[in-house]
């Protein structure tokens, strides 16, 4: 999520909401709009930098040798090396990270697709054509998130054991789908709320059927929202550790589980862990960049009224 922050901030700083908050400020900014913008810009950059420093630090450490990574005070200017990355890709241990990365991709992509397939119709029935007592339904969805996951871990483990689904990536897909579904329904509902009723009525008058309306009217307006929802679900599934650690074993282990394997109680591991964390974060970063345009619209959808 931290990768989104700079974009989010940059998007919101020069935007209309800064200049139009309150009459007192408006007067001031009229007098000297550029100065105010520069100050806000500097503040935004400083904040963005503050959020980025841990990530940059992680990247720097991943290019150091283990002994340089462990020094205190830190040796910033130490020689750069790719050792930690070679280690991560199994140069000495012979253990490849690919199976776990593929498992993570499987779990995240399939669960995200499933979530969208289920959440969009549900959100449609809660927003555009609300069912009776739709607010109760919304609350019910939310209530499933109220119990902490850790409370359900043991029962889930026993169920998985008894139906023979332990160490099976498809069970994890199912778990992630149900874990993200309530959030996705809530997000999608607020995005579908943005679809103007007039547009739907106009489509109806023109004789468009439901599927045509969905495709030509609802989808274009809701697309940024769908992208944002998909990205959130993808990130949540990709980063999930607790369920993955409990429910997987030899073949279905995901990347976060693989990553924790580098944390050693004896011996040096900082550079290796940083390299692993960098590689594991890359897919999410790419997904974020790929969806950036849509996201900026999507994240501000509910904000600008």
């Amino acid at each position: 999520m931290s990768t989104l922050t700079p974009t989010e901030r940059r998007a919101s700083v020069p935007g209309p909401n800064v200049r139009s908050t309150g009459s007192r400020r408006r007067g001031k900014s009229r007098m000297d709009p550029t100065r105010n913008n520069t100050a806000a810009g500097i503040a935004a950059w400083l904040l963005a930098l503050l959020f980025a420093v841990p990530v940059l630090w992680m990247i720097l450490t991943s290019f150091h040798s283990e002994t340089d990574a462990a020094t205190n005070p830190p040796s910033i200017a130490a020689d750069l090396t790719l050792d930690a990355y070679q280690e991560f890709f199994g140069a000495t241990s012979g253990v490849s990270p690919w199976p776990s990365l593929i498992n993570s991709a499987t779990a995240s992509i399939f669960s995200t697709v499933l979530v969208l397939l289920l959440a969009i119709p549900a959100a449609y029935a809660l927003s555009i054509r609300p069912v009776k007592k739709w607010s109760d339904v919304m609350f019910f969805f939310l209530s499933t998130k109220m119990m902490p996951v850790v409370a359900a871990v043991l029962p889930l483990y026993l169920v998985a054991k008894n139906i023979g689904a332990l160490d099976n990536i498809w069970f994890l897909v199912l778990m992630y789908t149900s874990m993200n579904l309530p959030i996705a329904v809530w997000m999608m509902r607020s995005f579908l709320d943005e679809v103007p009723v007039e547009m739907l009525e106009a489509a109806q008058i023109d004789g468009a059927g439901l599927l045509l309306t969905l495709r030509k009217v609802v989808a274009p307006v809701a697309m940024p929202g769908i992208a944002a929802t998909a990205l959130i679900c993808f990130i949540f599934s990709w980063n999930e550790l607790l369920l993955a650690r409990v429910l997987t074993g030899v073949v279905a282990g995901t990347a976060p589980v693989f990553l924790t394997g580098f944390v050693s109680g004896q011996g040096l591991f900082l550079a290796k862990v940083c390299a692993a964390a960098v590689v594991v974060s890359l897919p999410v970063l790419f997904a974020g960049f790929a969806a950036q345009d849509k996201l900026v619209q999507g994240l501000s959808l509910g904000a600008v009224k």
């Binding site: 499933l114 498809w170 030899v250 109680g265 004896q266």
Partner: protein, 448 residues
Amino acid sequence: MRAKTRVAALAAGALCVAISASACAGAGGGNSAGDPNAINVLMVNNPQMEDLQRLTAENFTQKTGIRVNYTVLPENDVRAKISQEFSSQAGQYDIASLSNYEIPFYSANGWLAPLDHVAQDPEFNQADILPAYTASLTGTDGKLYGEPFYGESSFLMYRKDIFDAKGLTMPEKPTWDEVAALAAQADGAAPGMKGICLRGQPGWGQVFAPLTTVVNTFGGTWFDKDWNAQVNSPEFTAAVEFYTKLVRDHGPAGAAQAGFTECLNNMSQGKVAMWYDATSAAGALESEASPVKGKIGYAQAPVKETKSSGWLWTWSWAVQAASKKQDAAGKFIAWASSKEYEELVASKLGWSKVPSGKRISTYENTEFQQAAPFFEAERFAIENADPTNPGVQPRPAVGIQFVGIPEFAALGTRVSQGVSSVIAGQGTVADAVAKGQEAAQKVGDKYK
């Protein structure tokens, strides 16, 4: 209306596809528990295990045709996963790395399969395994449930060069009072150097591993033989007072967060003159990459009331009772804990990386003796550790730096938080032991 049904049908269809896809994969490519020529091993990610992982395919698998799938996790995670896996007898893993703390009660619970067939193998030569381990890995039913992979006691490591330069001498079997005096003298012996590193990080296996040995030799104990908690006894309190004061006065910065790894770093980087910890640390200090190689002297664990106070610990292999591949698992253990494997590590990675501390023959090997200047001190420490009688009074359960009951992990960790706070400069020892006494008595009452 028709359109509504269509959407519903679409969603239902999608769900069906997903479920059938998952069912397919489950049957086809799911878990590897079915492969008769593959065993699954769950183990802690210590460097010795990583070496094993590296050497398995080219040696063990090639010779026997048995593939080994490893899952390696950090110590706390692996403990949680092993107890979950073994208590439910899920059968996902055939072998796990367990310590001499867990094996007695795991075997009593019926979670482990006996390893007598490994022990009886003349090639394996059980008599070569240090007797202290065979004893502590044997269940109450007299059967053997674990084979050590590597073992350790604890001893005191110090910078010979610094001690020589300052004219200090370390006795071979120092007392804690001598060590405290030496720590004060060595403090500042080199720029930025502190007297001694001791674990301060919360956790029964962190601060309480060395601290319990101090408690033992100060005449204290967690429980008397009738399970009365003794945490606020004068001896226990004095030991905690001594330990926390020593670390606060002469320990490195961040002592309250220092564990094994942090102390190893401090020692390697010349930030401390002494370190009391596991004998297995010496291998890292004497390895080729170590900046302090050849500069370290080794003395026995410091004492007060007892003759010796080193701990006894081993990471060993145990087989899950529910495993369907007992035979292959036995073969793996017989290889991983063998003399042959130690020689393999020596030839590929060097003698300092050998998972030592378990076989008598290793200590008699001249090559090992040369590569490991600490061999005599380590062997002496392991042979003199007595898990059944580590202190001045009879104990209700086995264990030196732990009490051999499942509840100890939680109890020790809880009390350790108070101790760690004291090291960090918050709270008092009296308060920490008073709370510890209360928690310990609740545990003790279960066994009365």
